[in-house]
């Protein structure tokens, strides 16, 4: 188990527990009463920590190394997943995965950014930072889903679109822009779920949907707190402050009506009980798709345009 800095009290209790168990095994004494006490104390401490998370702590949680990634959820929530590769132009982007799947027997197209689970895989997955071909692969799959009248589910988890030389040569900006434009017009239902990091255009590039949803401990905004700190404060030391100022938590985003729903995470975060998290997402998807299927394609598209058109704050004054 890996603990974040703000989980220190939890880590200590866990260490105590381990020592106790070791001791009891060695000396064959009954410690079950103490174990139960410790367990209660762990639960209480966890709850206490998790009811008062700061924005920066939520950012840390969204990046927890044990947090479930896209392929985990695909495997747990859907069945008969057939991964489809390539953008048909340049290559296959390993930072963006997707394919055909079934949700309780209903054929859907599912896709999302994929982070690596260990050092080697992290490199292969480019830390979940897609290149233009990733966005173009995603669009290819969406268009296929539209052609065969299958709903689309996107799972968003990225520290941003990759800022590389080849990415620019192949039109990173164009690839994201094209996805925004095309996703607005998709005739089939589209549900987008932020499962980890929702960083800027790289997240939005697969984030235009009838329902845009955040898991409780994720963040979604225009820039990472670190980069924001470096640009606006001209120092890397103000990331906590930047995280507060950016109002990037699921609670803030729902309050601003910039996302449609927030899905609660198990206490301790999605990584504490990943199967429970997957079940929560599945239940949501089934309900939301049932509702979206009642609308005509034209209604869905109109509502999508209206929803995004309303986003923004300004005053109107007498000229």
């Amino acid at each position: 188990m890996q603990f974040l800095d703000f989980e220190k009290p939890l880590e200590e209790l866990h260490n105590q527990m381990n020592k106790l168990k070791e001791m009891s095994a060695k000396n064959q004494v009954d410690v079950s009463a103490t174990v139960r006490e410790l367990e209660t104390s762990i639960e209480k401490t966890r709850e206490k920590i998790y009811t008062n998370l700061t924005p920066w702590q939520r950012v840390q949680l969204s990046r927890h190394p044990e947090r479930p990634y896209t392929l985990y959820y695909i495997e747990k929530i859907f069945s008969n997943f057939t991964e489809l590769y390539g953008d048909r132009q340049v290559k296959d982007d390993k930072a963006m995965v997707g394919g055909m799947a079934e949700l309780d027997g209903m054929p859907v197209m599912v896709m999302g950014q994929q982070k690596g689970v260990n050092t080697k895989m992290r490199q292969l997955r480019n830390f979940g930072m897609a290149n233009p071909e990733g966005y173009r692969k995603a669009l290819r799959l969406m268009k296929m889903a539209e052609k065969f009248n299958r709903p689309i589910v996107t799972l968003i988890d990225t520290p941003g679109a990759y800022p590389g030389l080849e990415a620019e040569e192949r039109g990173q900006g164009e690839a994201i822009a094209r996805n925004l434009f095309e996703m607005v017009n998709l005739k089939v239902p589209v549900i987008c779920i932020i499962i980890g990091e929702g960083a800027s255009g790289g997240a939005l590039g697969i984030g235009i949907g009838d329902k845009v949803v955040m898991l409780e401990n994720t963040w979604y905004t225009v820039i990472s707190p670190e980069s924001c700190s470096s640009i606006l404060w001209r120092s890397w030391n103000f990331k906590e402050k930047a995280a507060e100022q950016l109002k990037l938590t699921s609670e803030d985003m729902k309050g601003f009506n910039l996302v449609d729903d927030v899905l609660p995470e198990p206490v301790g975060g999605a990584h504490a009980k990943p199967e429970e998290m997957a079940a929560i997402i599945k239940t949501y998807l089934l309900g939301a798709l049932a509702n979206l299927n009642k609308l005509s394609p034209e209604q869905r598209i109109d509502q999508r345009i209206e929803k995004f058109s309303k986003m923004g704050f300004y005053d109107e004054v007498a000229e």
Binding site: G173, A177, R178, L180, I208, I223, L232, F238
Partner: protein, 285 residues
């Protein structure tokens, strides 16, 4: 000893800034590229392009509109839409104060001006970004004015053009600025359905969220010579790949070469070229 002739007696620049001998502001202009000096009047008569090296100086709506609209006649639209600091964002300075300072120094309300008028006899709506207003950053007002500009174009059956010049999203509006990418792209689908052309004109610089939304979505994407156009900024890319970037990287000519621009147009030819294109789109409609 000859060498002492060249030895500095006092080190450093000792002239106080106040005592520096400078020509009065606004009379002369020194080209940042070739250092040639011209009077500002000469420069203005030459489309703010250096007569010697063809450097296109950065200009804003106040210069583009008179240059493009016939007889300098146009209507400024949606000037009643003004920014506000809903988030109460504070970095080294409150966003509210930044807005007030920018409004004071530019005389503008925000980084977007929308004008409607005629260009060689054809109607056109132009949304032009102002780089002098907080780096031309894209916030809610920019998005809303584009959105209304599109509604206006649809209502009056006019072609629509955006002149982009921006460092990208306005961080002080956080996710609201991000969503302007979605909002403007969504509205552009309505323009497309109405069968009206959208011309995206990119000028120096066009980066970040602006590139990743409306700037790259034109029926034609065109640019001024040597404009910096990209998604990630050159500094970020350099830090990421830890290599020097090739010369000309992310400039208009580079984008043309890689297939992302329809053509590059010099400012003195812009109006003529635009009317030719608009004529093609709108003839008989």
């Amino acid at each position: 000893m000859a060498s002492t002739w060249f030895r500095r007696i006092k080190k450093g620049i000792l002239t106080d800034t106040r005592e520096k001998k400078e020509t009065p502001d606004g009379l002369w202009h020194k080209c940042p590229e070739c250092k040639t000096t011209n009077t500002t009047q000469e420069l203005a008569n030459h489309y703010y392009v250096c007569p010697k090296c063809n450097y296109h100086n950065r200009i804003n709506a106040a210069e583009y509109f008179p240059m493009l609209f016939d007889n300098d006649e146009y209507e400024l639209l949606f000037e009643n839409i003004v920014p506000k600091d809903k988030l109460g964002f504070i970095d080294l300075k409150p966003y509210d104060a930044r807005l007030k300072d920018a409004q004071k120094s530019t005389g503008l309300k925000d980084a977007m001006s929308v004008g409607a008028g005629m260009i060689n006899g054809n109607g056109l709506v132009i949304a032009c970004m102002n780089f002098n207003f907080i780096g031309g950053s894209m916030g809610s007002v920019v998005g809303e004015k584009i959105s209304r500009g599109i509604d206006y174009a649809i209502e009056h059956k006019l072609p629509f053009m955006i002149i982009s010049k921006s460092g990208g999203a306005r961080m002080m509006e956080s996710a609201f600025s991000l969503m302007q990418m979605a909002k403007t792209s969504a509205k552009l689908t309505r323009l497309a359905k109405a069968g009206l052309p959208y011309i995206s004109f990119m000028t120096d610089p066009t980066t970040g969220g602006v590139t990743a939304s409306y700037a790259m979505l034109g029926d034609i994407n065109i640019a001024e010579p040597k404009a910096l156009i990209g998604f990630a900024g050159p500094r970020v890319i350099k830090e990421t790949i830890k290599k020097d970037l090739p010369s000309g990287f992310q400039r208009s000519e580079f984008l043309l070469e890689h297939g992302f621009l329809d053509f590059i147009v010099e400012r003195q030819n812009l109006k003529q070229k635009l009317s030719t294109v608009i004529e093609w789109y709108m003839k008989g409609k």
